[in-house]
Symmetry: C2
Subunit: 545 residues, 2 copies
C-alpha cells in the first residue's frame, strides 16, 4: 500500500516532469531588503571598498566561501518590481509593475499620491521650470494569480510550479507583491503552503517586540507586522522573530522528506532604521553616528539570521542538499537621513542608491550556494532578478513547464555549476522607473530608464526626453535631447561619472535602439508629457545630433 | 531510493506507533464559538424546542444525518478552558485554566481586571451585602508547550502527536489558548504546520471585510483579525474568508496524500453580533428583532461554511476518508443585549448560558461523522471536551503515546462506532468556574462549580460556600451552607428548575464528595474568601444539615 501511494503521488503532479524526489534539493531564497552592494564584508566588486569595511557580517562571509558570488547582479530600483519579477520571470517593464504597490488597491504610490503627479518643486536638472511629466498608467495593484483584476499583471508564480512538483513552499517575511483587497496579496494564492507575516506591507511598522512590531493602539498602521504574537512585549527583534518562525515551519518537510522552498524575505534593512541593540553598541564605539550604527546593527541582525539558518541546516544534516540563494531587492537606500552618514555616498563606489537606475540603485548582492555543484567561485556576467524564476525551476529539476506569461529571464545555473550554457555577457538588461519617488525632486532617481549591454550602459532621462519633443524652441529641444541620453563604460567607470555618449554616438544609438525595442515590445508604461497629453517618447524617438 | 526514503520516514516518527498512512483518516474539527445547543435545526435534545425553529442550518442538518449526534456533550462555560482542554486532554479544573486568557500576559480577565476582584454591586442571592470572594490564582496565561512559563499549564498538545504521526496539521480561525508574549499563543509551537488567523484574540474586532476585520486606524485593537488582507475592502464576511483560506491550505496534503488535521475554529458566533447580510433579511422578515436576526445570520454563515467544507471534501473525493467533528466551545451567550430576544431565555429549555455551569452554559452541540464507521445515530452518554484529545488520537490510530500531563478525557470513539468500550454513563464530569464574569453580578453565572454523575447534577455556589464558613452567625452559616449545594435530576428536570438537594441528601453528599475529591486531586484553584484570606471551601468541607 505504501508503494502504491507513492506511485499515486507522481500522478498527481500535473505540470512538472516527473522527478525523483531524492534528487530535488531544498531551496532557501534569502532575500534582504534595501541592502546595498557594499553593505557587508563580502566582496562583490573587484576590490573591497571603504564602505565594505564598516560592516560585520561573518555569516555572509561564510556563505560566500561556499558560493558563486555574482559581481554584476541586478534587481530593480525599488522593492515590488523586483519581487514580482522573481515571482513571474518577467522584466518589470514587461509586468508594468514599475513601482512599489500601495497598501490599499487602486492608490498609486507615485509621489504625491492619487491622481496625476504634479511636480511640486522643480523638475529634472535645470531644464524644467515647471511640471513636465504625469504618472504613467502602470499596474499599481501588482501581480495577480487570477485573470481580470484591474491594474495587475496576471501570471503563474514560480512558487506554484515548485508546489506542483512536490515542494513544501514557505513564505516568511515581506511579500509586497500586491495591494490589500486583491488576490495577489495572498501568498496562499501564489502556491505557498505556509505564510508567516507576508502582507501588502513594504516595510515594518516597528522592528521591536517591545512595541509588538507596531501592533499597539498608539502605533498601528497597515505595516504592523502580523503573526508574531508570541514575541509581543519581548525584546525579540523582528529579524530574529521571523527567523525563528521560518525554522519552525521547516519541521514538517524535513521530517517527511519533502523538498522545501523557503522564501525568507527579511523586512530588514528597510526603514525605519531602528537599532538592533544586540549589535549596535560596537558600531557606536567605532565612531559611527547613530544612524550609521543603527543601520549596521540591522545588517548584522540579518547576518545573524542567515547564520541561524545555516546552522540549522547543518544540524539537521540537510545542508548538503540545500541550495541557498542570497539576494537583495534593490540597492541600498542612500536618500534617508535616518541611515546616517553622508547622503548619496553610502553605496560608493556606485552612484546613487535605491530608486535610481544608476548602479547604486540596482546592482545588488547575489550569492548562490549549491554544495557539491558550485564550480565557479566568482561570476561577473550580468544577471537580473527575473532570472531567478527559470534558475530556481532549473535547480528544482522542473522542465517543460508552460506559463501564461512570456518569460524574460534565463537560468543562470550554468554560471554556478559550469555546466551548460548560461546567459551571454552581452545580453541586454533593462531597467525602467518611470516614476517620481519622493515629494521633492531627485534628479538622479526620478524618471530614469537604463539598459546594460556588456560593459556599456545607457541611462535615459525621461524628463529630458519629454522636453526634447515638447520644449518650445528647437534649441531647447535639441539641448534636452542631448541631456536625455547618457552613456557609461562600467568597466572603466563603475561610478558612472563620465558620460561618454558624445564620444560614442553609434554605441549610444545602438543601446537606445535596444532599450526602445524592449520597451516597445513589452508595451511598457511611460509617463505622460503634461504639455501634450502624449506618452513620453522612447529614446529612439529622439532626434539625436 | 523512494522505498528507502519511506522507510526512513517511519523511523522519524518518535512518539506514535507506526501506522499505515493509507489507514489514517483525515480529520476536520469544526469548532464553533458561543453557539448554543438549540441554535440550529439539529435536534440534540429529546425533542425539537421552539428555539430550534428559529434557525436555518441545512448543512448542519445534512451532517447530522451522517453522524453520531451527542445529546449530552459538554464543554466548559467559557472559551479558553474548552480550547485548552481539547489541546491537553485535561479537565479545566486540572489545567487551572478556568477562565479565558487576556490578550496580554499576566493580566487577569476576571471582572474588574487586575488585582483581586472586589464585587462592585452585590453578591450571590440575597445573602451577601458586601464583598465575599477574591480572584483565584489561576493559570491566566493559558497553556504552554514549554516548561516554566509563569501561570501556564505545561502540556503536550494533541496536535503535536498528530504531526508526529504524519498528519499535516492546519489551524484556521480562533486559537485563544494563551496570551500574547508567551510561547503558548503561537500555533506553530503546538504542532501546527500552518496557522491562519489564530492569535490571542478571543473575539474578532469586526466581521466585515469592508472594515478590514478591524484593521483600520480608527478601529484597530488586539482583536483585529490577522492574515486576511486579500479580503480588505470587500464585503467578504469573516466566516467565509476563513473558510476560503482553510480550503486553500488543504491543497498540499490532498495532493501529496498526507492525512490532514484541519482545526477550523470559527470566530462566529461570538460577539460582536454583526449581521451577515448574505442571510439576515429573511430573519428580519420573519419578525425577529435586529439582534436576533443578526445572530441567526451569523449562525447561517457558520452553516454555509460547513457546507463549503462538506462540498469540498465531496468534490475532492475524500469525504469517505474524512472524519468530521462538529462542536462548540461553550453554551450560547444568553447575557448580551446585542443578540436580541429576551435575555437568559435563548438556550431554553436549558437554564442560563455562556459563563454558567448550569446546562445552558456547558451543554453543547457535538456531532461526529466517520463515513462507514458510524454505527450509532444518537448517543446520550455524557461526554466532555477533554475527551477530544484521546478521541482524536484514537481516530488517527495513534496509540501508546506518553504525555507530560495526566489525561482526564477518555476516547468516545466507541460511542460512535459501537466497537469497544466507551466512557460509562455514570462517569463524573466536572465543571469549575471560580470567577466573576462581568462587572455586574450574575448570580447564576459567577463562582459556580458543578458535577454531573448519570442523571444527577450538583451545582456548588462558591459564594454561599464561602459564607457557610465565614458568615458572622451560626444561623447565617447554616443558611448559606444550605444554599450552596443544589441538586438536579436532569432526566426529569433538564431546565434545572427544581433543586432537590433537601430531598436526596445522600445523593447530594455523594456528588459533593465526588466533586471535592476531583478538585482536591487536581489542586484546583478556588477564589479567596476576603474576610479570612483563605481559599473558599470545597463542598465537602461544608457542614450540611
Amino acid at each position: 500500500m505504501k508503494y502504491k501511494a507513492l506511485t499515486g503521488l507522481a500522478a498527481l503532479v500535473p505540470l512538472a516532469a516527473c522527478t525523483n524526489k531524492a534528487q530535488q534539493p531544498n531551496i532557501v531564497f534569502f532575500l534582504v531588503d534595501d541592502f546595498g552592494w557594499v553593505d557587508s564584508s563580502v566582496q562583490y566588486g573587484e576590490e573591497l571598498y571603504p564602505n565594505n569595511l564598516r560592516f560585520n557580517t561573518p555569516n555572509m562571509q561564510r556563505l560566500s566561501e561556499r558560493s558563486t558570488v555574482f559581481g554584476s547582479a541586478y534587481a530593480c530600483a525599488v522593492s515590488t518590481p523586483t519581487r514580482t519579477s522573481i515571482m513571474t520571470g518577467m522584466n518589470a517593464a514587461h509586468t508594468r509593475i514599475t513601482n512599489w504597490t500601495s497598501a490599499y488597491k487602486d492608490i498609486p504610490s507615485d509621489a504625491t499620491g492619487g491622481g496625476f503627479w504634479m511636480s511640486d518643486n522643480k523638475s529634472s536638472g535645470d531644464a524644467a521650470a515647471g511640471d513636465v511629466l504625469g504618472r504613467p498608467d502602470w499596474n499599481l495593484n501588482g501581480i495577480s494569480p487570477v485573470e481580470g483584476v484591474p491594474h495587475t499583471q496576471y501570471a503563474n508564480s514560480l512558487v506554484q510550479y515548485l508546489k506542483d512538483a512536490g515542494y513544501f513552499t514557505i513564505h516568511v517575511g515581506k511579500a509586497h507583491w500586491a495591494s490589500a483587497g486583491t488576490p495577489g496579496v495572498n501568498a496562499y494564492n501564489h502556491g505557498f503552503c505556509v505564510n508567516v507575516a507576508g502582507t501588502m506591507a513594504g516595510m515594518p511598522r516597528d522592528y521591536s517586540g517591545m512595541d509588538n512590531y507596531g501592533n499597539t493602539k498608539e502605533r498601528w498602521n497597515e505595516f504592523a507586522v502580523q503573526n508574531l504574537v508570541e514575541y509581543y512585549g519581548t525584546p525579540t527583534h523582528l529579524t530574529d522573530a521571523l527567523t525563528s518562525e521560518a525554522l519552525k515551519t521547516l519541521d514538517y518537510p524535513i521530517r517527511h522528506r519533502q523538498p522545501f522552498y523557503l522564501y525568507l524575505a527579511s523586512y530588514a534593512t528597510h526603514t525605519p532604521i531602528q537599532a538592533d541593540e544586540r549589535f549596535a553598541q560596537k558600531y557606536r564605539d567605532a565612531g559611527m553616528d547613530e544612524g550609521q550604527a543603527a543601520y549596521a546593527s540591522l545588517v548584522e541582525g540579518v547576518d545573524a539570521s542567515l547564520g541561524r539558518v545555516l546552522d540549522f541546516l547543518d544540524a539537521k544534516g540537510i545542508a548538503d542538499n540545500t541550495v541557498i540563494i542570497f539576494m537583495t531587492d534593490n540597492g541600498g537606500n542612500s536618500e534617508n537621513k535616518q541611515k546616517g552618514g553622508v547622503l548619496h555616498t553610502q553605496n560608493k563606489p556606485l552612484r546613487e542608491g535605491k530608486g535610481s537606475n544608476y548602479e547604486g540603485g540596482i546592482r545588488v548582492p547575489l550569492m548562490i550556494c549549491w554544495p557539491g555543484k558550485n564550480r565557479i567561485c566568482r561570476c561577473d556576467v550580468p544577471v537580473i532578478c527575473e532570472d531567478m524564476f527559470p534558475t530556481i525551476l532549473d535547480i528544482a529539476g522542473i522542465k517543460d513547464y508552460r506559463t501564461v506569461q512570456d518569460l524574460d529571464g534565463q537560468s543562470i545555473l550554468p554560471l554556478v555549476t559550469g555546466k551548460g550554457e548560461g546567459p551571454s555577457p552581452d545580453r541586454p538588461l533593462v531597467f525602467h522607473y518611470p516614476h517620481k519617488w519622493k515629494p521633492y525632486d531627485l534628479v538622479d532617481i526620478d524618471f530614469l530608464s537604463a539598459v546594460r549591454v556588456g560593459d556599456w550602459k545607457l541611462v535615459y532621462r525621461i524628463i529630458d526626453g519629454a522636453l526634447a519633443v515638447s520644449a518650445p524652441t528647437p534649441g531647447e529641444r535639441s539641448e534636452a535631447a542631448a541631456r536625455a541620453i547618457e552613456l557609461y563604460n562600467l568597466k572603466d567607470d563603475l561610478g558612472e561619472e563620465h558620460n561618454v555618449a558624445a564620444d560614442y554616438p553609434d554605441i549610444a544609438r545602438r543601446l537606445a535602439d535596444t532599450l526602445s525595442a524592449k520597451l516597445r515590445r513589452w508595451d511598457a508604461v511611460m509617463p505622460i508629457v503634461l504639455s501634450t497629453g502624449a506618452q513620453a517618447p522612447l529614446p529612439d524617438q529622439l532626434v539625436l545630433e
